[in-house]
Amino acid sequence: MSQFLEMGGYAFYVWSAYGVSTLVLCYGLLRPYLDHKKTLREISLKRRQHKRDLND
Amino acid sequence: MHLRAFGAVIVRDLLLAFRHKSELVNSIAFFILVVSLFPLGVGADIALLRKIAPGVIWVAALLATFLSLDQLFRSDYEDGCLELILMSPHPVSLIVLAKIMAHWMLTGVPLTLIAPLLAGMYGLENSSIAVLMLTLLIGTPILSLIGAIAIALTVGLRKGGVMLALLILPFYVPVLIFATAAIDAQIAGFPVSGQINMLLALLALALTLSPWPTAVALKMSLS
């Protein structure tokens, strides 16, 4: 296992490259997921407010 | 019938520019300033200066043209003339081409005429200065044509719109590469016809392809 981690002496380069990739790709999925939740909350908030204005 | 309008737009823009001299001088002053600042930073070693001359002069010309492009639509946009032009019975891309040509006459041509002066400062001999002027003559219209697209896209923006237009500079890369390569080839004594033909091809491409997106972008910015 340690031989695998060592990557023939290039461990730092290979794993930093893969590390950056995981970061970028995860962010790429996380961001829309959170935005989606935020948009849903915003819209329901606006609609509830809209309903309240209507019946005042 | 369209040619009359084409000429009218050019004449009007030239007239406006001459009545409003400051804009004219700005881009030329910027060009001279940037080119003459470099030796102060890089040192006056003539061999080095001669080596970087094509690149420095061309990048300065590129930026000078781009900065002066902002006026192309901005004043018309602010006083409503842009709407008048968009609603004329003539194809908008034709009128846009007229405006770009007027802009080229006001910035591209002066830059080309002043370049030999600055090239002299960098120790270029006459033959490479001739090639420099040729590349500027062919290259500056391409810069105006492509730049016009970005300016049309961002003319309606209030905040930071101008800076955004800078992001069209990547499209200037081919022009910069072939122009500076032509001058380097001349300095090294090689024939320059290859690079010059590439520049002419880019000019033909820009002339035919860029007015249409500029016109559509103007309609976008106004809607």
Binding site: G8, A17, T39, I43, S44 | I149, M220
Partner: protein
């Protein structure tokens, strides 16, 4: 038949529901291909005789570089469809793609320079491919900047479509002029940045990773499109049921 399906597919509520299911299925596929690609690339593939194990970065760098161009094409095509036929869905796709494309371009740049470090000792090399990738990143930033700068969403997406169209015409020109410029200044050096001779065991994981990245793009695009659609249609009745459903 196709038009009917396209019409049905493009109606917002239908698309919203369908994309929800699609994302789930695609993520399963993504995990599968990713696992295959990574395992193949990191473990099975033999080390390169010249670069040793550092060549394994190729399994991230090359698919990312392919994706950066692929996404630009997808964006330009969907932008043109949106401009010409005014199909709302195409507009949303062409607007949601730039951030993902920028991500992949950035990834290609970073992994490229990390890969170059052991070979040439410097983080940045004016290699033709890396330079073109850098310019492509500027193009993506321009698109994202333009979209965020314009308030009205419809005009913003059409302006982005125009810039993307102009971009797609210029990308080959930029690429070849940079390539030409590179050979001019660097001359025939041995550190040509091409892929090592591809052995079949090395190629399979590369293709798996490429497919995995395409699946990833589809998922990210669907997620962003659902979000964009929700924002644009927030007054629509179908949004009502979506709110109850959640």
């Amino acid at each position: 038949m196709i038009m009917k399906w396209l019409h049905k597919f493009s109606s917002p509520p239908y698309f919203y529901a369908l994309s929800g299911k699609l994302i789930k299925w695609l993520s399963v596929l993504l995990v599968a291909f990713l696992a295959a690609g990574l395992y193949g690339g990191l473990v099975l593939a033999p080390a390169d005789y010249q670069q040793g194990d550092s060549f394994r970065i190729i399994y991230v760098h090359v698919p990312a570089a392919w994706m950066s161009l692929f996404i630009y094409m997808v964006m330009a095509v969907s932008g043109t469809i949106a401009l010409v036929w005014r199909i709302k869905l195409a507009e949303i796709v062409s607007v949601c793609s730039p951030p993902i494309g920028a991500g992949f371009t950035f990834l290609a740049l970073v992994t490229g320079s990390i890969w170059g470090k052991p070979m040439w000792g410097t983080w940045w090399v004016w290699d033709a491919r890396l330079t073109s990738e850098l310019i492509l990143l500027f193009l993506y930033l321009g698109l994202i900047g333009l979209y965020t700068a314009i308030e009205d969403k419809r005009t913003a997406s059409r302006s982005v479509a125009i810039l993307a169209l102009v971009g797609v015409v210029n990308i080959p020109i930029i690429h070849y002029s940079v390539e030409w410029w590179n050979t001019l200044h660097q001359g025939p050096t041995v550190t040509k940045f091409d892929k090592p001779s591809i052995h079949i065991d090395m190629l399979i994981p590369l293709l798996n990773m490429a497919i995995a990245f395409k699946l990833y793009f589809a998922i990210a695009l669907l997620m962003r499109s659902r979000n964009e659609l929700l924002q644009r249609e927030q007054n629509g009745r179908w949004v009502e049921e979506v709110l109850e459903g959640k």
